[in-house]
């Protein structure tokens, strides 16, 4: 169930690849969030960065053999949802509530 801690990196190669792939995804999304050009590009990039952060925390939980981190990942997912709703409300109505 949990990745074996072996090899020079202290874990197996697929887990390493997954972690680096997630971080590379975050880099690409940051470029999109910085460059824009429209508000929708930025909203999409931010929402996807939140998803990557959620996955990253879950992955860290499996690397360090602490599956309780899944709870934190769920919290991030909820926060990401609330933040995106607030941003979308602003984008649509130019005010909150």
């Amino acid at each position: 169930m949990i990745a074996q801690a072996t090899g020079v990196f202290g874990t197996d190669i697929p887990t390493l690849a997954a972690g680096l792939a997630l971080l590379f995804g975050v880099l690409l999304l940051l470029v999109r969030a910085i460059a824009g050009p429209t508000i929708w590009d930025r909203i999409l990039a931010l929402n996807a960065i939140g998803t990557k952060a959620t996955l990253l925390v879950a992955l860290i939980g499996f690397i360090t053999r602490r599956p309780e981190f899944l709870d934190i990942a769920l919290l991030y997912a909820i926060l990401n949802f609330v933040g995106t709703i607030a941003i979308l409300k602003y984008a649509r109505h130019r005010r909150l509530g």
Binding site: L30, I34, A45, I60, I63, L79, G83, I87, R95, L96
Partner: protein
């Protein structure tokens, strides 16, 4: 270089990119989004540092409520920043000086996770709670406390209920009231600052309101 180190380095590089981009962004909406991304990535980094409670707080405050409050702020102020490129040299020098001092301060700190760090080798003296433990022979910590008291007859370095040898942990977990007291002080200060800032002028209150 071990694996978590590799993840940490890449993660911190991304945090720095997001932070600089948030400062440099002229579109305030983009700046808020980048600040939110910065907080989420930093929360991931706290998780890798085993500071899960800090990560929770960072995610809830930095990425959650701050984003919504800042959006409430740009509802009132508008989306474009007025560009002023002048560099305030005394402020820059003061910031650089403080940064150098902070880095200098970290040079003497023990290595991350060092078992010989002072926080582990100098447990908090707690003679009064020790006596409470001694009165309750049914408690699990009774034997531990008794053992410890026998080994240290002068009460030098006995610790809370005999089971929290780390100073920081014993303040956060066993002496919860101290932790909460200073948190309340911080939040009270922040609330006072907000009241002063958001009070508005007499007869000219903020129009519309935030929410």
């Amino acid at each position: 270089m071990n694996y978590m180190m590799l993840i940490d380095v890449v993660l911190l590089a991304l945090v720095i990119i997001a932070g600089i981009a948030a400062i440099e962004a002229r579109n305030l909406f983009a700046a808020i989004g980048l600040a939110s991304a910065y907080s989420l990535l930093l929360a991931c980094f706290w998780t890798t540092m085993d500071a899960v409670d800090v990560a929770y707080t960072e995610a809830a405050v930095g990425a959650g409520i701050s984003t919504i409050m800042l959006i409430g702020a740009i509802v009132l102020t508008g989306e474009r920043e007025i560009v002023r490129r002048a560099v305030h040299w005394p402020a820059l020098l003061a910031c650089a000086g403080v940064a150098v001092l902070l880095v200098y301060g970290t040079l003497d700190m023990p290595r991350f996770g060092d078992p010989d760090a002072p926080a582990h080798t100098h447990p908090i003296y707690a003679g009064f709670t020790q006596q409470d433990v001694m009165k309750d022979p049914s408690g699990k910590s009774f034997e531990l406390a008794q053992e410890y008291a026998a080994a240290h007859p002068d009460h030098s370095g006995d610790y809370f209920h005999g089971h929290v040898p780390n100073q920081v942990t014993s303040v956060i977990v066993s002496y919860r009231a101290f932790d909460t007291l200073f948190e309340v002080a911080v939040i009270f200060t922040a609330a006072m600052a907000l009241v002063v800032l958001l009070r508005g002028r007499r007869g000219n209150p903020l129009k519309g309101g935030l929410l």
